[in-house]
């Protein structure tokens, strides 16, 4: 049902989109990605050594400006998994610059992991390919309701402050996992369109960057960004790859 990783290096796709999951150790980045790519859950905690990645191919449907659905594209997702442990920090942050979008994760059952979101945020701003990369805030382990330490309102406020979408997911049940990733993918694809599509008469070689000049991109721009939760319907899950199973539990 799902593409085997080995057959996915054939180059038969339209876009290679690189996303990266980051957050404190133990918040569930690996299990989250495992759930997303393989739709499985491994409750055992195996700490990630440095870095890892998973792949998945999805079909993305673009939206035209008038709201109608446009072309569909095959997107190859490379999902980088990073070690949350401090000792790997220099290695993991090095990989930030190669990712086009970020899943910033914390553990809903750990207040500390939530507090550290700010630190991760500044890490991203310093090391990502630009200062206001596309980020989705993910509170994981939503299924462990009785151990919950971070309230939805709290997290939502923080996300709003940064102007990024927020999702409460559960890698164990699969709840909202796909949605979080797809939302991020949509943000990245939109940014890509923005970067390229505006006719750039006076910047022959700098299309991409002249784009960035358009929104006031100073340090605060992340905060100033409108909180846009992108509409999801423009993403039609392809029957084979994208459709996650109904959340069990």
């Amino acid at each position: 049902m799902f593409c085997a990783v080995s057959t996915m290096t054939d180059g038969d796709y339209d876009y290679l989109i690189k996303l990266l999951a980051l957050g404190d150790s133990g918040v569930g980045k690996t299990t989250f990605l495992y759930r997303y790519t393989d739709n499985k859950f491994n409750p055992k905690f195996i700490t990630t050594v440095g870095i890892d990645f998973r792949e998945k191919r999805v079909v993305y449907t673009a939206t035209n400006s008038n709201g109608t659905t446009g072309k569909t594209f095959k997107v190859h997702l490379q999902l980088w998994d990073t070690a949350g442990q401090e000792r790997f920090r220099s290695l993991t942050t090095a990989f930030f610059r190669d990712a086009m979008g970020f899943l910033l994760m914390f553990d809903l059952t750990s207040q500390q992991s939530f507090l550290n979101v700010r630190n991760w945020m500044s890490q991203l701003q310093a090391n990502a390919y630009c200062e206001n990369p596309d980020i989705v805030l993910v509170g994981n382990k939503a299924d462990l309701a009785d151990q919950r330490e971070v309230q939805e309102k709290q997290a939502k406020e923080l996300a709003d402050k940064y102007g990024i979408p927020y999702f409460e997911t559960s890698a164990a049940t699969g709840s909202e996992v796909d949605k979080a990733v797809i939302t991020l993918l949509d943000l990245v694809m939109k940014r890509m369109e923005q970067c390229v599509d505006k006719p750039t008469q006076d910047a022959p070689n700098g299309d991409g960057a002249s784009k960035l000049a358009a929104p006031p991109s100073n340090e605060k721009s992340v905060h100033a960004r409108p909180n846009l939760l992108p509409p999801l319907p423009n993403l039609t899950p392809p029957p084979t790859t994208l459709a996650g199973p109904p959340p069990h539990g």
């Binding site: 050594v49 000792r87 930030f96 008469q201 700098g206 000049a213 100073n218």
Partner: protein
């Protein structure tokens, strides 16, 4: 260099951890290679589309035809049929609709598409952000000249290339490609030493290009740079820099066993092939591509910047260096200093020089355009100078001011130069500077001459007004010369620095060892640089036909019986190099029928103005020729840009002869190749009928030895 390796070095990892990470990186490499292949394929597609019937430059195309397929456009179409990206008039079939409802022409659409599909939108931004990071000076020393690839470089790639991951145990690493490059190919001593000019400037052009267009974005980045840089970031940057040592390895071809050989080779081969294709078929050189993309504006800009200086130079030209000396020199070649006859004669002497200069002198691949900018320069091109053992180094710094579009070369000093005057053991050195490939006076700058020293201190700034995008296509050539008042000047050494991958916004002082003249490239190199094409038709009209023309009288008839006529119809040239403001040239074609290179065989077309695709439709007639004679003759056609106030610029040429004559005519050895030979032979084979051909122009008429 090596300390920086330590910074990203993962020595804290255990062996098994290292193995795990390496495994991940290898998987990543697989994906990356597939991606690289895909990107290359996509880019080839774009080239193909661009090549197909697109209008180039200005000129003979009808305004009422589509800029892409060249189908005529409907009358009503004008105005609404202009692509707002490239401003070409485009028919309905050659449009691509954007998601926002507007449209652009097929090429622009494809370009935008490519930017998305290849991920360039992302890499362009990233490159922009990290180009100013600390440690870049070190990075530069070891960069490879492949901006495209480097731009796409990922941390994973770097880590994998470098053995940083397992510095102490090469044995543990299963693949040879993971061996330590830094040790094998770039000994620390060498790297930390004064940078090699070949490697030093290896920096992504895209980075700098992006920068120009993005001042506003830079402001944004500035603020973040102001914030304290995290120690980790430093690690990243350093890691990036150290890893750069490996690409150097694979680009310096003489080095044995390049690591990543498989990948590097396959990609560079493919790219070379692609480039070759681009050059020989579609001929999209960077300059041209730029021209093609946003034609009029950009080229205009450059010319605007170049011209004024050239005018200045014209006066100061060669005179500033020599007074009496120049006079002496000119005497030896009559005609060189005669104003009126300049157009007539200087071209001849130039062509002569073009030929002579092959023999081990200065003719490099790029030095095709040549004028009599300075007599001295012409002589130096011709190899008429004293050669001494090159020694010493030159200290200079480069800077580009984006605001004023000024490129400054600060020549600080030279150290330990050779003695130009070997008899008296002294040197009067000056530094000459060109922005290659332009070797005309427009691009020439000189310092003053310092007397009697081998360690001259100049501290002189040589300035060029040039747009940054243009600058990136150039190479800086600094040569040091001994000025001899009475005798010949002596060449003391030079350095060539391509500017496409060089950081120009930091006035970093560089000290580069002087080198001897580059060995001229081989025969094929005359075609390696795309100079456009010449479309001609040849016909040999045999005696019989002319005999039918009996009315002309007995005497004339008899004369004609001695031989037929060779008609050379010069139809048109395509994609000539633009030499004038507005991206055009005022060109004409000149022909000689060798071996007799005199006025008797000299023919010229009228000048066709303001186009790089001139239609000449002019016939050269050579009479009294027997068919057999043609076997041992050579038709040399050269295209020139007419320059009213000074000497004409060489735009390219062809040399038609039968291959057979090469062997027979020792010493002359016309090096006609491929289509040139083909066309000549077809002409001889089928007298009285036209043989037409489109011949690629040589960038130099120099003959292969």
């Amino acid at each position: 260099m090596l300390q920086t390796v330590e910074l990203i070095s993962l020595s804290f990892l255990t062996d098994s951890e290292r193995e795990l990470i390496l495994e991940v990186l290898r998987r990543d490499e697989e994906l990356r290679q597939a991606e690289e292949q895909r990107v290359r394929r996509l880019k080839a597609e774009l080239l193909e589309i661009k090549r197909k019937g697109a209008k180039r430059g200005s000129g003979s195309y009808s305004k009422q035809s589509c800029g892409r397929c060249q189908e005529p456009l409907g009358r009503l179409a004008t105005g609404s049929s202009q692509c707002h990206s490239c401003n070409h008039q485009v028919c309905r079939n050659c449009r691509g609709v954007c998601p926002n409802g507007s449209w652009v022409c097929s090429v622009c659409a494809k370009e935008a598409d490519l930017k998305k599909c290849t991920g360039d939108w992302f890499y362009d931004q990233r490159v922009n952000r990290f180009s100013d990071s600390p440690g870049h000076d070190i990075v530069r020393t070891s960069l490879r000249k492949r901006p495209e690839l480097r731009k796409r470089e990922t941390v994973g790639e770097l880590l994998l290339q470098n053995r940083v991951i397992s510095p102490s145990q090469p044995s543990r690493i299963p693949r040879p490609k993971l061996k330590d490059l830094a040790n094998e190919q770039a000994p620390p001593s060498e790297v930390s030493k004064a940078p090699d000019p070949q490697e030093q400037h290896q920096r992504s052009d895209t980075e700098s290009v992006e920068k120009t267009s993005l001042n506003s974005f830079k402001n944004g980045t500035e603020s973040s740079r102001g914030t304290p840089v995290l120690p980790r970031r430093e690690g990243v940057v350093e890691g990036r820099s150290t890893a750069r040592s490996s690409p150097v390895g694979s680009c310096v071809s003489s080095l044995p066993v390049p690591i990543r050989a498989d990948e590097a080779h396959s990609s560079s081969d493919a790219e070379a092939a692609l480039r070759h294709q681009g050059v020989s078929i579609s001929g999209i050189t960077p300059e041209e591509e730029a021209l093609f993309k946003r034609n009029p504006r950009r080229s205009l800009k450059t010319s605007e910047h170049c011209r004024p200086t050239s005018v200045l130079d014209l006066r100061g030209g060669g005179g500033d260096v020599t007074g009496t000396y120049m006079g002496d020199r000119s005497k030896s070649v009559p005609g060189l200093n005669v104003e009126e006859d300049e157009e007539e004669e200087d071209i001849d002497s130039l062509v002569e020089i073009h030929k002579r200069s092959t023999g081990g002198s200065t003719l490099s691949l790029r030095s095709s355009k040549r004028t009599l900018g300075s007599l001295l320069s012409v002589y130096s091109e011709a190899g008429d100078y004293v050669s001494v053992e090159v020694s010493g180094e030159i200290v200079f710094s480069l800077n580009y001011d984006e605001r004023t579009q000024t490129f400054s070369v600060l020549v600080k000093e030279c150290r330990g130069l050779a003695c130009g005057d070997t008899l008296r053991q002294r040197s009067n050195p000056y530094v000459k500077c060109y922005l290659l490939p332009d070797k005309s006076r427009q691009s020439k700058r000189k310092t003053t001459t310092k007397r009697n020293t081998v360690n001259p201190i100049y501290n002189e700034t040589l300035k060029y007004s040039i747009s940054q995008s243009q600058l990136l296509t150039r190479a800086l050539q600094l040569s040091v010369w001994h000025h001899d008042r009475l005798g010949r000047n002596a060449f003391l050494g030079e350095v060539d620095l391509p500017l496409d991958c060089r950081q120009l916004d930091s006035a970093h002082v560089e000290c580069v060892t002087l080198k001897g003249k580059a060995v001229p490239a081989t025969l094929s190199s005359a075609f390696a640089q795309y100079k456009g094409e010449l479309v001609i038709s040849l016909k040999y009209i045999s005696m019989r036909e002319s005999q039918t023309d009996k009315k002309k009288g007995w005497k004339k008839k008899k004369k004609k019986e001695e031989g037929g006529e060779l008609h050379v119809l010069i139809k048109e040239a395509k994609n000539l190099t633009a030499m004038k403001a507005g991206g055009t040239s005022d060109s004409f074609v000149k022909g000689y029928l060798l071996p007799c290179k005199t006025k008797a065989t000299k023919r010229k077309t009228p000048v066709v103005k303001k186009t790089v695709n001139p239609q000449y439709d002019h016939t050269f007639v050579y009479s009294d020729l027997r068919l057999e004679e043609l076997q041992n003759m050579c038709l040399e056609l050269t295209v020139w840009d007419r320059e009213a106030m000074s000497s004409n610029d060489f735009l390219g040429g062809v040399r038609l002869s039968s291959a057979a004559s090469m062997a027979q005519e020792e010493g002359t050895g016309w090096d006609s190749t491929g289509e040139e030979v083909c066309l000549w032979q077809t002409m001889m084979q089928y007298p009285d009928s036209w043989a037409e051909g489109t011949l690629p122009l040589r960038s130099s008429m120099a003959k292969n030895k």
